[in-house]
Symmetry: C2
Subunit: 446 residues, 2 copies
């Protein structure tokens, strides 16, 4: 790996801030599309994918209500499958599927979304209650007036929708893939390097102290790093995820990102026969495991990890959970709360899945879930020399490749660009901008 | 004035956070519409209108490109005129007009907006260059290759649009009007009282430590004040302007507000004959003064204040000026910068208006300009027991009355409510919400 020394005269064609999956996919596609361009990635941590990419549950799905999300995630998944199967690089893909459990009320509300998915070629299959009961050992679908379920207003399960081209991957392997390809093409990465702020300069400046002035045209011409150096660039790609607003807002450009802490709890399966059976629920996928499963209350979900003998669980965590506008640089400051598992997750979990009775987490961690609160949809926009990408609402991993290709197109041809996504589909970058944004709000958010 | 003691048992029907113009208009209309309701206003400062309301330039206009803004500002202006003329309460209204100077390029771009305004009954008049030269002593409309103008890329002035039902008012008098009416109706205000955070509680809570849990329905039931007390309320109206996001984001509700520092500089006229003539430019209004005038570069504007013998000047101040997401509570921490006047404002000002040659400010101040960056339009939304109002992008004063009426309607009938604006016009509150927002982005922002 190359650690270029940044001197105050260093100048690159493109500087990318952030080596998470979105930043690395962007850097790779920029270098791939224009090998003659000099591209530098600045990363706060010691390697790629060490921020919230590493803390995500690293699931992917194409079962979105937004047609744009279907396309962005769908083509990214196709690329990841290509990397794993055709390039033979193991990025840990396992197509375990997404299983959305639905109450009668939710089923009615989702009917039109399911129809749209089917029309758009998203592979889904509906399971009725009776089938679910047979296939998922221990699942409770009817509460028959149980007092605790009533107190928690838990709804019966009426059906479940399985998304087939959905599953999990290894985010460290995926970012390492992009890193290695990028370095092979001659790209540079500077790790342990904080991007402190964007540098604004007057276009055709007069060399007067205090520029740029209000009457001057000005643009971002570089990045000031934590050690006081300035890296200059023709384009600065801001792909700092949760920290996008800190960098962009601080320079007077709206970063359109807010964050909430999200927690994941690891529940051990070993020695618990009922949980072992649940983990190895058959019939849904070729892995012979329960799919990633979403329960019909507070977005509570389970990710089975067969090789670890573990379920990872988490939930939407919306209520009274503060939006974080200026997130810590040290993610270790966000710790998971055992109370949260015990009081907000556990009771719901064991009502729907009694095999979890008495099970406590053996590990847990927290990260930041990064929102674009306008429509829960990602963005790519160009403004004043910056190309900003983010707001993916927890789907950075699953849309990363497509976002990187859109960033590449915008860096090359401006915000009017058309990107070619993996598989050949043409996608207009302006759809993801804010000037003429034309996106439907995503309705299926967890 | 009444300073009720807030005990830990205090409960009101409505608590309004913030006694700026929007908060006080809301409190007044709520009490006016439902005199039986107990209404308390919580205010950080020692009286009404002491925050950014006091720091605004307190101008009003109905010359917006957004039809909604035309209606919201138009009906508020009508109400203010009613207060001044029919109720005989002096709120300092002076219909000096808004004069938008336009370069040939800007004129072409604005044509369709002007047509829409005329169709919607907004009273405007277009002045051609020759008329402006006659009416405005000292105005330069053509630079004829001047080097300094060229360096600054100043454009010639081709025409100007005068908005007639536009002008200035005294924001302290306006907020005092709402305060006095509100108190007369039995409303309560607690000054010097910080609203520290919103109190969330489970609906039908079980009395367990740590509620609300993720599986519980919960809502805001009150406000925790800086001295540790809790004021309970059926509805909490958040009208804290620049601090809306701090309060709402902190409770997990998106506050949709960002801020930038804005500065105003007071330029003395006395003893400068050319400036005296400019201040008293005749023919535009009954006050015999120059209208509020916007120059065609960086939104630089002049507010003539005849009785003070002063021009107040300011500009858009966008470039590289940070968005402030967590603003200071003590606004004195935001100071105007003399350099900003000298380098960013002065040179443009004296090119268009040479009488300002050599003039330096005798006073200056700063405040926060509060944005809803989605569409530069205000919002009113109801969520989890909160009614939030804000995002008025510097137009809190001019749309305050209408916003207060929309808040009242939402407090009474929910987000599906229809408000009756002053003059009888019906206005659907949901237009200003985020769930089914149907607003055009405002294009004329200064």
């Amino acid at each position: 790996m190359v650690f270029p020394v940044i001197s105050s005269e260093t100048k690159f064609d493109v500087v990318v801030i952030g080596a998470g999956v979105v930043g690395m996919a962007s850097a790779y596609h920029i270098k791939q599309g224009s090998p003659e361009k000099s591209v530098l990635v600045l990363e706060r941590y010691a390697d790629v994918g060490q921020g919230n990419t590493a803390r995500s549950n690293a699931m992917f799905r194409n079962t979105f209500t937004s047609p744009d999300n279907q396309v962005l995630a769908g083509s990214s998944i196709d690329f990841y499958l290509h990397v794993q199967k055709e390039l033979g690089i193991d990025i840990g893909i396992d197509l375990i599927g997404y299983l959305w459990m639905m109450s009668p009320r939710q089923r009615a509300a989702c009917e039109r979304h399911i129809r749209t998915m089917e029309e758009n070629g998203v592979e889904v299959k509906l399971y009725e209650r009776a089938e679910l009961e047979k296939m998922i050992p221990g699942l409770v679908t009817k509460f028959n007036g149980s007092e605790e379920a009533g107190l928690m207003k838990l709804e019966d399960i009426d059906a479940a929708l399985l998304g087939r081209k959905c599953g999990r991957l290894a985010p460290d392997n995926l970012t390492a893939f992009y890193r290695d390809q990028f370095l092979k093409l001659g790209g540079k990465i500077s790790f342990n390097t904080e991007a402190e702020r964007l540098v604004f300069e007057a276009v055709g400046g007069l060399g007067i102290q205090g520029e740029p002035f209000a009457w001057q045209d000005s643009r971002v011409t570089g990045v000031k790093t934590g050690d006081g150096k300035v890296v200059r660039a023709d384009k600065v790609v801001v792909a700092a995820g949760a920290w996008n607003s800190e960098l962009l807002d601080g320079s007077g450009i709206d970063g359109h990102v807010k964050n909430k802490k999200r927690q994941t709890f690891g529940l051990p399966v070993k020695g618990n026969a009922a949980l072992e059976k649940l983990l190895h629920a058959k019939g849904f996928n070729q892995s012979g495991t329960l799919p990633f499963t979403i329960l019909p209350k507070s977005g509570l979900y389970l990710k089975p990890v067969k090789e670890e003998g573990e379920f990872l669980v988490a939930c939407e965590d919306e209520i009274n959970r503060p939006f974080i506008t200026v997130p810590e640089h040290d993610l270790e400051k966000y710790q998971a709360e055992l109370d949260y598992y015990e009081m907000s997750i556990y009771h719901v979990l064991r009502e729907y899945l009694p095999p979890f009775e008495g099970v406590r987490p053996t590990r847990m961690w927290a990260g930041l879930y990064s929102y674009n609160t306008i429509d829960n949809m990602p963005y790519v926009f160009e403004e004043d020399g910056v190309v900003a990408v983010g707001g993916d609402s927890g789907s950075g991993v699953m849309k990363g490749d497509a976002m990187g290709r859109v960033v590449e197109a915008v860096c090359r041809s401006g915000s009017g660009a058309t990107a070619e996504l993996y598989g050949g589909r043409q996608y207009k970058a302006s759809r993801l901008g804010f000037k003429s944004r034309s996106l439907e709000r995503e309705e299926w958010v967890i």
